[in-house]
C-alpha cells in the first residue's frame, strides 16, 4: 500500500546546474535505436487525469514515465539531474525553490511547454473545488508562481532540502500534462493523455494494450531508442512470467511474493532480474489509545516474538530482507544503533505474563493471498508467546479510511522508497498528523522530527533520524518487518533499465541489443 505522504522533502542540497547532464547526453555506441518491446504490468491503468484517478499506481507511473516528463529525474546514485528543468536554486531557509525551465519544448499537441503550463498543472490539483485526492501530496507547497516564461518558483510551507529529488517521480503530481488537452477533451482526457515525453499514446484498448510510439520531435535529440512500447496488464503472476519466457513480453513487473519465479529467472541466462533495494519498509502500526496496546509491555512483547528470518523463509523463500528500522539499507540514513528490540520469545512471554490480562486483539489484513499469509505467520508467532490475534480481512481500498479514522487495533502500512525520509517520517510520527496512526504523542519525538527537517547537515540529520528510530523501537508504537525490494524481470536483450526508484519500471530510455 502506498502510505499517505506529502511529496516534498529536504536534505543537504546545493545548486545543480546543467552540467549534471551525464544521464541525458546522446547515445553511446552500444545503444541501438529501433525495435519494439512489450511490458507486462500487474494492473490495468484507469487513466491519467489526476482529477479522475487521484494518484498513479506503479503501473500507471511506468506509462507516465514514457508519455510525460517531470522537471527532474534521478541518476544512478539517486541524485536529481535536469529534465524539463535545466537548473535550480533555493533560498537559505529551503522554503523557496526557483527552477529554470528548458526552452523550446512542446507538448505532443503542439502546446508550448512553459512555466505557466506547470503552474496550471499545480493549480488544478490544488484547487479545493476540484477535490482531487492528489492534493494531499502537495499540501506542503503553498503555491507555484510563473514570473516569466521559463522561471518557476515553488513556495513551501515548511523547509524542504530535497524538493528536486521528490519532483522526479512520475506521479500524478509531478508528470506535466498539456493544459490545452485537458481543457479541450474534458471527460475524454483521462484516457487520451498528452505530455512532452519521449513517447506518444497511439492507441489504448481497455484492459488489453496501450501502444506508445516514439515522439519524433522529442527535445532530447537521439532519444528515445525504441520505436514502440506496448504496455499490457497481465494480472496473473504465473502467466505473466510464462509470457516473458515465451516471448510475448520483454519485461515484467514482479515482487518477492513470486519468489519461485524470481529465483528461476536468476538462473536463466536468457533472462535478467532487475533488483532495486530501496529505502523504506513494510510496516505495522499499533493503535496505542486502545487496549491492549495502550500498554508498552504488550507492544514490545509482540515485536520481540517475531522471527523475521523465519517469516521471510516462509513467505518469500528468504528473499525478503528483514527490517530493524523504517529507513532500510537503501536510505542514506545509516544508524550504528537503531534501537531494534531483540528477537526474544522468552522475554515476550514474560512481558505478557507481567501485563497480567489476556491479550486478544484484531489485526487488519488485506484480503489477498499475500495478506493472509503474512497475517497467519504473525498469528503463529504471537500465539507462541500467549497472545491471541484474530485476522480481520478487508480489501485494500478499505485500509486507508479505517486507518485515518483510527478504526483498528493493528494495521499494515507501507513506507515507500523516497529520496528523503522527512515527508513520511514527519507524517507518520509527528503529533497531530492525520497519518500518525499510532495516536502517540511525545514531545521528544516531535522535537527530533522538527529538528531533522530544518537542518541541512547530513550527519546531524542522520543522528536525528537514528534517535527517532531508537525511540520508536523502544516504545514499539510501530514495527517493521521487511525492507522494500523492487523487482522486474526482462529478457537479457533489453538494456538500459534504470534503478526502479519508488518501484517504478521506467522503460522510456531502454534499448534492445
Amino acid at each position: 500500500m502506498k502510505a499517505a505522504i506529502a511529496r516534498r522533502s529536504f536534505a543537504p542540497f546545493f545548486l545543480v546546474a546543467a552540467f549534471a547532464m551525464s544521464a541525458w547526453t546522446g547515445p553511446a555506441a552500444a545503444q541501438k535505436s529501433g525495435g519494439s518491446i512489450t511490458v507486462g504490468q500487474e494492473l490495468d491503468i484507469p487513466g491519467f487525469d489526476p482529477l479522475k484517478v487521484g494518484v498513479f499506481d506503479t503501473s500507471a507511473e511506468t506509462a507516465a514515465a514514457a508519455i510525460f516528463d517531470t522537471l527532474t529525474t534521478l541518476d544512478d546514485k539517486g541524485e536529481p539531474v535536469p529534465k524539463l528543468a535545466q537548473s535550480w536554486s533555493h533560498s537559505d531557509d529551503f522554503k523557496t525553490w526557483t527552477f529554470k525551465l528548458r526552452p523550446g519544448v512542446k507538448f505532443h499537441d503542439g502546446t508550448p511547454f512553459n512555466a505557466q503550463a506547470v503552474k496550471d498543472n499545480f493549480d488544478r490539483q490544488k484547487d479545493p473545488a476540484n477535490k482531487c485526492r492528489c492534493a494531499f501530496y502537495i499540501a506542503g507547497i503553498n503555491d507555484v508562481q510563473a514570473p516569466d516564461e521559463l522561471t518557476l518558483v515553488y513556495n513551501l510551507k515548511d523547509p524542504s532540502a530535497n524538493l528536486p529529488a521528490i519532483l522526479s517521480i512520475p506521479s500524478s503530481n509531478n508528470a506535466i500534462q498539456s493544459p490545452t488537452a485537458w481543457k479541450t477533451k474534458g471527460d475524454d482526457y483521462n484516457r487520451n493523455p498528452v505530455g512532452t515525453g519521449p513517447y506518444i499514446l497511439k492507441s489504448w484498448t481497455a484492459g488489453d494494450r496501450m501502444v506508445l510510439e516514439k515522439n519524433p520531435d522529442y527535445w532530447n535529440k537521439g532519444h528515445p531508442y525504441l520505436d514502440r512500447i506496448v504496455l499490457k496488464p497481465l494480472p496473473d503472476a504465473q502467466s505473466r512470467f510464462a509470457s516473458l519466457q515465451s516471448g510475448e513480453a520483454d519485461i515484467v513487473w514482479d515482487d518477492e511474493y513470486d519468489a519461485d519465479n524470481i529465483q528461476r529467472a536468476m538462473k536463466d541466462p536468457k533472462l535478467t532480474v532487475h533488483t532495486y533495494k530501496g529505502s523504506g519498509a513494510a510496516v505495522y502500526a499499533f493503535n496505542t489509545k486502545v487496549a491492549p496496546f495502550d500498554d508498552v509491555r504488550v507492544r514490545q512483547a509482540l515485536v520481540m516474538a517475531i522471527n523475521r528470518k523465519k517469516m521471510s523463509q516462509a513467505i518469500t523463500n528468504g528473499l525478503a530482507r528483514p527490517a530493524s528500522n523504517p529507513y532500510g539499507d537503501g536510505s542514506w540514513v545509516k544508524c550504528k544503533d537503531d534501537g531494534a528490540l531483540p528477537e526474544d520469545p522468552a522475554k515476550a512471554t514474560a512481558l505478557l505474563k507481567d501485563y497480567g490480562k489476556p491479550v486478544e486483539f484484531k489485526m487488519l489484513v488485506t484480503a489477498t493471498p499475500r495478506g493472509r499469509t503474512v497475517g497467519q505467520v504473525l498469528q503463529q508467532f504471537w500465539k507462541q508467546v500467549g497472545a491471541n490475534m484474530e485476522i480481520e480481512q478487508v480489501d485494500q481500498a478499505t485500509i486507508p479510511p479505517r486507518a485515518f479514522m483510527r478504526q483498528f487495533q493493528l494495521t499494515p502500512w507501507r513506507i515507500i522508497d523516497l529520496a528523503d525520509p522527512d515527508p513520511q517520517m514527519y507524517a507518520n510520527f509527528h503529533t497531530g498528523s492525520p497519518v500518525a496512526l499510532a495516536n502517540y504523542s511525545n514531545p521528544e519525538l516531535d522535537h527530533l522530527l522538527e529538528h531533522a527537517r530544518t537542518t541541512a547537515d547530513v550527519a546531524a540529520r542522520t543522528e536525528d533520524y537514528c534517535a527517532v528510530s531508537r525511540l520508536i523501537n523502544k516504545e514499539a508504537i510501530w514495527f517493521w518487518t521487511f525492507q522494500n525490494t523492487y523487482y522486474a524481470i526482462s529478457t537479457s536483450k533489453l538494456k538500459g533499465v534504470p534503478k526502479m526508484f519508488s518501484g517504478v519500471i521506467d522503460v522510456s530510455n531502454t534499448w534492445l541489443e
Binding site: 499517505a4 479522475k52 484516457r191 497481465l234 502467466s239 480489501d395 485494500q396 485515518f404
Partner: protein, 319 residues
C-alpha cells in the same frame, strides 16, 4: 393466436418479475458491500466533512429504496452510470469487453460439445465396455481439475516449452483473424476441458436410458441399422437434455471467464468485473453484474423456446 405465440407471450410475461428481482439483488449486493463509496473516491482526502459533502452529492444519504428506484429509472432509460475512475459509461465498458468474452464462451462451448457429444454416443453404444469405463473415469478426473491449474499446465506445455501458441494476450478479430484465433486456442481449451465431462456424462446416461426403451427394441426388431437407431432414435430424444446442459453451461462459462481471462490477460467482461471489485468501482460492478444476470436470464428464455420448438408437447402446455 397460434400456440407458439401464446407460449412466447406467457414466457415473456414470466420474465418480468425475474428481471426485477435480478436488478434489486444486484443493487442490494453492491450497496451492502462493506465500505463506503465516498471514502473510496476521496481516499486520503476523506475528512468527515468531505465525505459528508460527497455522500450528499451522490445521493448516498438517501434511503436505499429511493436510491434503488432512481437507479432503476436510469437503467430503464439505458443509463447504467459512469465509472468514477475512468469516466467510461458502463455500457461503453461492457460493449468494449463483451465481444471478447462472447468469443471465448462460444469456442469453449464448441470444444465442449465437439468432445463431449461423440464420446457420449460411443460410450452409450457400448455401455459397460472397457472404453466406456475408461472414459467415464477420465471424465470424472477432468471434472475435478480446476481451470486455474489446467490453464497453467496448457501455458507451460504449448507456450513455454513448445512455443506453438502465445501464453497471454489478445488481438481483435478485425485486425488479424488468424492471430485472434491463436490467442483464443488455450483459453477456450481451458474452459472447454472443464465443460465436456458434464456434457458427456449426462448425455451418456440419457442415451443409455433411451436405448432401453421399447421403441428401440422395436426398431432393432425391424432390422434398422444400428447407427440409425443410435443417432435418430436415441440421440434425438436426448437432445432436450443436451440443450438444457448447454444453457446451464453458459452460466458456468461466464463464471469461468473471470479466472480464464485473468490468467490469459484477455480484455473481457470477467476482467472488467475483477478490476471493478479490486478498485471498488461499484457503479461498473453493479452495471456489469446486471448485464451478466440479464444475459443469463435471456439465455434461459431462449433455451425454453428451443424446448418448445423441439418438443410440441411443451408449447401446447401439457408436458
Amino acid at each position: 393466436m397460434t400456440p407458439m405465440v401464446g407460449f412466447l407471450a406467457r414466457r415473456l410475461f414470466y420474465l418480468l418479475p425475474v428481471l426485477i428481482a435480478v436488478s434489486l439483488l444486484t443493487f442490494l449486493i453492491a450497496s451492502l458491500l462493506p465500505g463506503d463509496l465516498a471514502y473510496t473516491i476521496l481516499g486520503d482526502q476523506a475528512t468527515p466533512e468531505n465525505v459528508a459533502a460527497l455522500r450528499h452529492d451522490m445521493g448516498l444519504d438517501e434511503p436505499i429504496w429511493w436510491r434503488y428506484l432512481g437507479w432503476l429509472g436510469h437503467v430503464l432509460e439505458g443509463d447504467l452510470g459512469r465509472s468514477f475512475r475512468t469516466g467510461q459509461t458502463v455500457l461503453q465498458a461492457v460493449a468494449e469487453r463483451l465481444p471478447v468474452s462472447f468469443e471465448l464462451m462460444l469456442f469453449a462451448q464448441i470444444i465442449a460439445l465437439a468432445v463431449g457429444v461423440p464420446l457420449a454416443i460411443v460410450c452409450a453404444a457400448r455401455s459397460g465396455g472397457p472404453f466406456d469405463r475408461f472414459m467415464t473415469g477420465t471424465a470424472f478426473g477432468m471434472l475435478s481439475v480446476p481451470a486455474f491449474l489446467s490453464a497453467i499446465l496448457l501455458i507451460y506445455l504449448f507456450a513455454v516449452e513448445l512455443h506453438w501458441l502465445p501464453a497471454t494476450g489478445y488481438i481483435p478479430f478485425t485486425e488479424d483473424p488468424i492471430g485472434n484465433l491463436r490467442f483464443f486456442v488455450l483459453p477456450s481449451l481451458t474452459l472447454g476441458l472443464a465443460e465436456w465431462p458434464g456434457i458427456m456424462r449426462v448425455l451418456r446416461s440419457d442415451m443409455i436410458a433411451a436405448l432401453q426403451e421399447d421403441y428401440i427394441t422395436l426398431a432393432k426388431a425391424k432390422g434398422l441399422k444400428p447407427s440409425r437407431i443410435l443417432f435418430v432414435h436415441a440421440l434425438k430424444p436426448s437432445s432436450l437434455t443436451l440443450i438444457t446442459i448447454t444453457g446451464i453451461n453458459i452460466g458456468r462459462l461466464m463464471g469461468g471467464t473471470v479466472i480464464v481471462e485473468t490468467i490469459f490477460a484477455l480484455p473481457g467482461i470477467g476482467r472488467l468485473l475483477v478490476g471493478a471489485i479490486g478498485t471498488r468501482d461499484l457503479i461498473i460492478l453493479q452495471g456489469v453484474v446486471l448485464c451478466i444476470a440479464c444475459g443469463y436470464v435471456l439465455m434461459n428464455f431462449v433455451v425454453d423456446m428451443l424446448y418448445a420448438v423441439i418438443d410440441p408437447r411443451i408449447r401446447h402446455g401439457h408436458a
